[in-house]
């Protein structure tokens, strides 16, 4: 909302000494932020001058040499404008003048001295939309009655200042000069001046020749008034200039008055050419597929969500959004019907989003005070009578389902302090509310406040407290800390522990997007689930919620690889999304991606399967799952190498996957793992507790077996564990050997077995019994030979 200072001065006497910046800052302090606060024309040193002699430049076919009288002196100015001629009054930028794009200095143009510049309106920085062809191509010509030597901006009537506000969406009332005046009046403690709504009506009654019919609940208030014998011509300068300051292009007096009244009251109006309209207006919802040609000559196809203005035969306009082409006011129009109405704000929002967001639709969307609907009708009649020589037909057509009573809210004065945390004297509270135009009665510390209908945003006592706080100054509140029964905060810090563990193991934490491309969603998993897509994605790459995080990490790997960084060890903890049995679900997952150098030294150690496996095991051990997890080769997703990957299980529950990315996907050696943290952490671990240190020595025995290459070490370990006695405390694989002396389908696996007993020193005999059992069992079960026995 652009606020013209001159415009608002019609309704409130602001101190002329206040700078526009001061006013804007004061408004910010009461909650109305602004983008800019500047003079309408950002130029200095401009005066009105008269060309007293105009000759052609000897060295040019388009330049003129003008002698310009600016009262105190006569300047020699070279000018290229085609309309420069003797006798016209023009805008003169003197030497030293600053225009938006240029600073004027004494100069010589093709040998002729020039002391200043004759200006067009464009050169003053007026937006092109406000200029006609004449203004764009040539210098501005004043009418002859303008005095020379005076400030040219003042002479133009453009000596205005503008604050461009960014208003909050609740303040529909501030989309009007009158609303702004109340706000400023409360800040500066000034009275609001009355708006002139007087006019004379003729003896006819509109209801005898015209009627309205509202066939929808989306239009609670509709007023129509008839105006005849209009004289369409350019608006007076003050109307034009205020529209320009407000960002609206002046057209002619009639169209301009509809906009002018909208700016004053916040009520958008629509004028119909009465001769093209017939004698009836119908307001109704559109029919699906119905068509209407709007003002911009575009045929629009409508749905039943749109509200239309129609005749008996057809739709002639989109209510609240854009008028129709067939009933447009034209320069030849003589008689009009004024529409002042309220439409369903949600419907207007939807329609305007589809078609056009305008000053009018913006106001309808935010809500209109029904009293302003009446006021706007009267104000436009007043202005049309005054500036378009119109005759006002008696009476109006009225359809009204609105209530217009003030809202009554009671407020206990204690509540103000209870909410704001600061004591504000009752008198101050009453003064603020009264200045806002509310009626206040005070009785036993209870205020009874009548809130006028224009304040759609004020409905409950907290709203009144906010009004008091706004104008008293929210910033006057002194901070203190809440007093509370002391209670410990709760925090599940396991995610943070996992994050810290991964970092300590040398991985870099990433943060990527939850939205990925649809084609990636079923990758790196064999789980059966339904994907979740979003309705209106911003791009093809971000259409679907991710299930596995690995695709995101792979994308990060590619990004960095393209920048020549290949040693990548990264992880991310994030949500995984899916749909199951018609319910939306999310789970937290940890994903890892490792490639390139892991151990940095002269002999760099590169990531392989066993390094990423070590990292996963280290995490699981740390979380308390030591000796409970298994790696199996079942159910490997196709994106992973079928023979270098595993499913991770704990107590036979699948909690994740680990492995190398399938060489069909990338030539690089990339290892990944993903663990479903929700599934993992649902598996209980034991409380940490100290175990007495063993006083008796342990005995270590090495055993090596020769067995088939395909047999997995894990199976042997399991069997040894089963076979060994309770004294067998630890099993470690310390060597895997294939090659010389061993059949090529066989391998040798060497184990270090640790035996202990908490109650005594183990005897050689006891251990031998155990060892022999193990040898026996393993040999039988796996067709293995004890190494050493094979020779």
């Amino acid at each position: 909302m652009k606020l013209s200072r001159k415009f608002v001065n019609d309704y409130i006497d602001l101190d002329a000494n206040l700078s526009i910046k001061q006013i804007a800052d004061a408004m910010t302090n009461v909650g109305n932020e602004y983008d800019s606060a500047t003079p309408l024309i950002n130029a200095t040193n401009l005066v009105v001058g008269k060309i007293i002699k105009c000759t052609n430049h000897p060295d040019s076919n388009h330049l003129h040499i003008c002698l310009v009288d600016i009262k105190d002196e006569v300047l020699n100015i070279v000018c290229g404008a085609p309309n420069a001629k003797e006798g016209i009054k023009v805008i003169v930028a003197k030497n030293g003048a600053k225009l938006p794009n240029i600073e004027i200095k004494k100069t010589t143009i093709r040998g002729v001295e020039s002391n200043g510049m004759l200006c067009s309106l464009q050169e003053l920085g007026l937006d092109n939309k406000f200029l006609d062809e004449k203004d764009k191509n040539g210098i501005y010509e004043f009418s002859d009655d303008v005095e020379i030597g005076i400030d040219a901006i003042k002479a133009l009537g453009l000596d205005d200042e503008v604050i461009d506000f960014e208003l909050t969406s609740n303040r529909a009332d501030l989309l009007s000069i009158l609303g702004m005046a109340y706000e400023l009046g409360t800040i500066y403690k000034k009275q609001i001046k009355n708006i002139d709504l007087t006019y004379k009506e003729n003896d006819e009654d509109i209801n005898n020749s015209f009627n309205i019919e509202v066939k929808t609940e989306d239009c609670p208030l509709f007023l129509a008034k008839k105006i005849v014998n209009l004289n369409i011509k350019p608006s007076p300068d003050f109307i034009k200039n205020r529209l320009i300051a407000s960002g609206i292009r002046p057209i002619n007096n009639v169209v301009d008055i509809s906009n002018y009244v909208m700016l004053e009251t916040g009520q958008p109006l629509h004028f119909y050419d009465a001769n093209n309209l017939g004698n009836k207006i119908i307001v109704r919802n559109a029919i699906d597929g119905e068509k209407v040609v709007t003002l911009d000559k575009i045929e629009r196809t409508l749905t039943k969500e749109d509200i239309v203005i129609a005749t008996d035969k057809e739709a002639i306009g989109l209510a609240g959004v854009m008028g129709g082409y067939s009933t447009e006011v034209e320069p030849t129009t003589k008689n009009i019907i004024i529409e002042s109405a309220i439409f369903n704000s949600v419907k207007i929002r939807k329609t305007s989003k589809k078609i056009l967001r305008s000053e009018a639709s913006n106001r309808f969307e935010k809500g209109i005070d029904p009293k302003r609907t009446y006021m706007a009708l009267e104000r436009s009649a007043h202005l049309l009578e005054k500036y378009a020589d119109a005759t006002i037909v008696g009476g109006s057509c009225v359809y009204d389902k609105t209530t217009k009573e003030d809202k009554i809210i009671t407020l206990q004065i204690d509540k103000v302090e209870k909410v704001l945390g600061i004591k504000i004297p009752e008198d101050t509270c009453i003064e603020i509310l009264t200045n806002l135009g509310f009626k206040v009665e005070s009785n036993n510390n209870i205020l009874t406040v009548s809130v006028p209908t224009r304040r759609l945003d004020i409905n409950i006592k907290e709203d009144l407290i906010e009004e008091i706080g706004r104008f008293y100054g929210m910033n006057n509140i002194k901070g203190k800390l809440p007093t509370f029964d002391t209670k410990l905060g709760k925090f599940n810090k396991v995610k943070r522990d996992i994050r810290n563990k991964m970092i300590s193991l040398g991985l870099n934490e990433t943060l990527s997007y939850s939205l990925i491309s649809e084609e990636d969603v079923y990758k790196y998993t064999n789980d059966k689930f339904e994907k979740i897509k979003i309705a209106d994605p911003m791009s093809e790459e971000r259409t679907t919620l991710r299930y596995s995080l690995i695709s995101s990490l792979k994308e990060i790997y590619e990004y960095n690889k393209n920048r020549r960084f290949n040693d990548i060890s990264i992880f991310e903890i994030g949500k995984s999304f899916y749909k199951e049995n018609n319910e939306y679900k999310e789970q937290t997952k940890l994903a890892l991606l490792m490639s390139g150098v892991y151990l940095e030294s002269l002999n760099k150690l590169k990531v392989d399967f066993y390094i990423i496996k070590g990292i996963v095991e280290e995490l699981l051990d740390y979380l308390g799952y030591k000796n409970r997890y298994n790696f199996t080769t079942n159910n490997i997703p196709k994106e992973l190498h079928p023979n270098m990957s595993a499913t991770i299980t704990i107590d036979n529950k699948e909690i994740g996957i680990i492995g190398k990315i399938n060489p069909t996907i990338t030539k690089d050696d990339i290892y990944v793992s993903e663990i479903n943290l929700d599934k993992l952490l649902a598996i209980k671990t034991s409380k940490m507790s100290f175990k007495e240190l063993n006083k008796y020595p342990s005995v270590i025995k090495d055993l090596a077996f020769i067995l088939d290459k395909d047999i997995e070490a894990q199976d042997i370990v399991k069997e040894i564990k089963k076979s060994g006695s309770s004294k067998l405390q630890n099993i470690e694989i310390f060597d895997v050997y294939t090659g010389n002396n061993i059949d090529k389908n066989k391998k040798s696996l060497a184990f270090k077995l640790t035996f202990t007993d908490n109650s005594k020193t183990l005897t050689e005999e006891e251990i031998n019994i155990s060892i022999n059992k193990i040898i026996n069992d393993i040999s039988k079960k796996f067709n293995a030979i004890l190494r050493g026995d094979d020779l």
Binding site: T28, V30, G31, T168, S169, N170, S345, R349, K366, E417, K418, V419, L420, G421, I422, E462, I465, G469, R470, M474, I477, K478, G479, L481, P482, T483, F484, L488, G489, F491, N492, R499, L505, G506, N508, E509, T510, L511, Y513, S514, L515, I532, K533, I534, A535, D536, P537, M538, L545, Y559, R563, I568, S569, I570, K575, F577, Y598, L599, E600, S601
Partner: protein, 348 residues
């Protein structure tokens, strides 16, 4: 007797020639071995007359002592030489690169999130974690943003396919207010913060379609705007420096009444005006206010008994302040050169 002197002279001559451990060991065998010269002399003792035994014994002991003293001295010297030689041979270039595991790093957003969590935990808040997929009801309606409300425009929403105005990616962590209030069966005091990811259809240098917020909610019988200000002052001063000034400016949010925007004095220029604060001296960092009575009511609280404050801010913004990051896209770019800059303990 004579023999002892002879052996002694011989020993002194032999000792002079010892220049290696090997020779020293041989010398020991030569003198103290089974057939060694001193051993031999010792075995002669029993053949001597009693009167000569004593004198012989004394001389022999002197000889043994001479041997031992010299032996030990030479041994120590040779041993030292040997050790020095070994140490010399083991000399390494200590300036060659170390062997080490790559250094991990914590993402700056996690760093800031953890710092916020710790700060509020220390004030007795509970850290609340809510889902990112939400119902329209929790994200909007129960926060006083009815269907068709213009405030929905400012938060252009990702609805799920086929779920328009029904299911969505949460646009704000304020949804946690609703969930925490509804889950609190006693409908009594609450003190939570909820950090997490949020999503909006928006993307440029200062907006990412995915970003992170933290929401705070405190409810009790006598919580006021002054408590809100005190809490935010503590939080913002701790995070941005003790000299930070906090300013309340009235504003509008559908779920708080009264509502304020919270500005801080610009930490870059100290309030004098610079590019960061757009020459105003102030930076807008937070939205806050008193929980709207309708919001309390919709989640089962009695607004006549309870009131509270809520605040919400972007974690991204604070990460950008703290680490001087100017483009939000850097945060989600995951360039390894960016990530590895956050690989150490930060000065507090």
């Amino acid at each position: 007797m004579f023999k002892i002197e002879e052996v002694k002279l011989q020993l002194l001559a032999d000792l002079d020639k010892i220049n290696s451990m090997e020779k020293l060991n041989n010398l020991k065998v030569e003198y103290l071995g089974k057939k060694g010269k001193i051993t031999e002399l010792t075995s002669q003792v029993k053949t001597l007359d009693n009167d000569k035994k004593k004198e012989f014994g004394i001389k022999l002991n002197e000889l043994k002592k001479l041997f031992n003293e010299n032996y030990n001295q030479i041994y120590t010297k040779l041993n030292e030489e040997l050790i020095n030689k070994k140490l010399q041979s083991e000399k390494i270039d200590i300036t060659l690169p170390a062997t080490k595991v790559k250094r991990g790093s914590k993402h700056p957003m996690s760093r800031v999130q953890e710092e916020f969590e710790d700060l509020f935990l220390s004030m007795g808040y509970t850290i609340y974690d809510g889902p990112e997929l939400e119902s329209d009801e929790n994200c909007f309606q129960k926060l006083n943003i009815a269907k068709g409300h213009p405030a929905r425009d400012a938060q252009d929403t990702f609805y799920l396919e086929g779920e328009y105005e029904n299911y969505l990616l949460r646009t704000q962590t304020s949804t946690a207010q609703v969930r925490a209030m509804e889950e609190n069966k006693e409908k009594g005091p609450l003190k939570i913060v909820c950090p997490g990811k949020v999503y909006r259809r928006d993307e440029d240098a200062t907006h990412s379609h995915q970003f992170m917020q933290i929401e705070g909610l405190v409810i009790d019988k006598d919580i006021s705007m002054a408590d809100l200000k005190g809490t935010l002052e503590l939080f913002l001063k701790k995070f941005l420096g003790e000299n930070t000034e906090v300013r309340f400016r009235p504003s509008f949010f559908p779920f708080t009444e009264p509502s304020v925007e919270v500005d801080i004095s610009c930490f870059k220029c100290g309030g004098k005006g610079c590019n960061l604060c757009k020459h105003t001296g102030w930076i807008e960092v937070l939205g806050a206010g008193m929980v709207h009575p309708h919001v309390l009511e919709m989640s089962g609280y009695d607004p006549n008994k309870y009131q509270g404050f809520a605040f919400g801010t972007g974690i991204d913004r604070f990460a950008m302040f703290k680490y001087s990051i100017t483009d939000i896209r850097t945060i989600y770019g995951n360039d390894i050169r960016f990530l590895t800059q956050f690989d150490r303990r930060d000065e507090e």
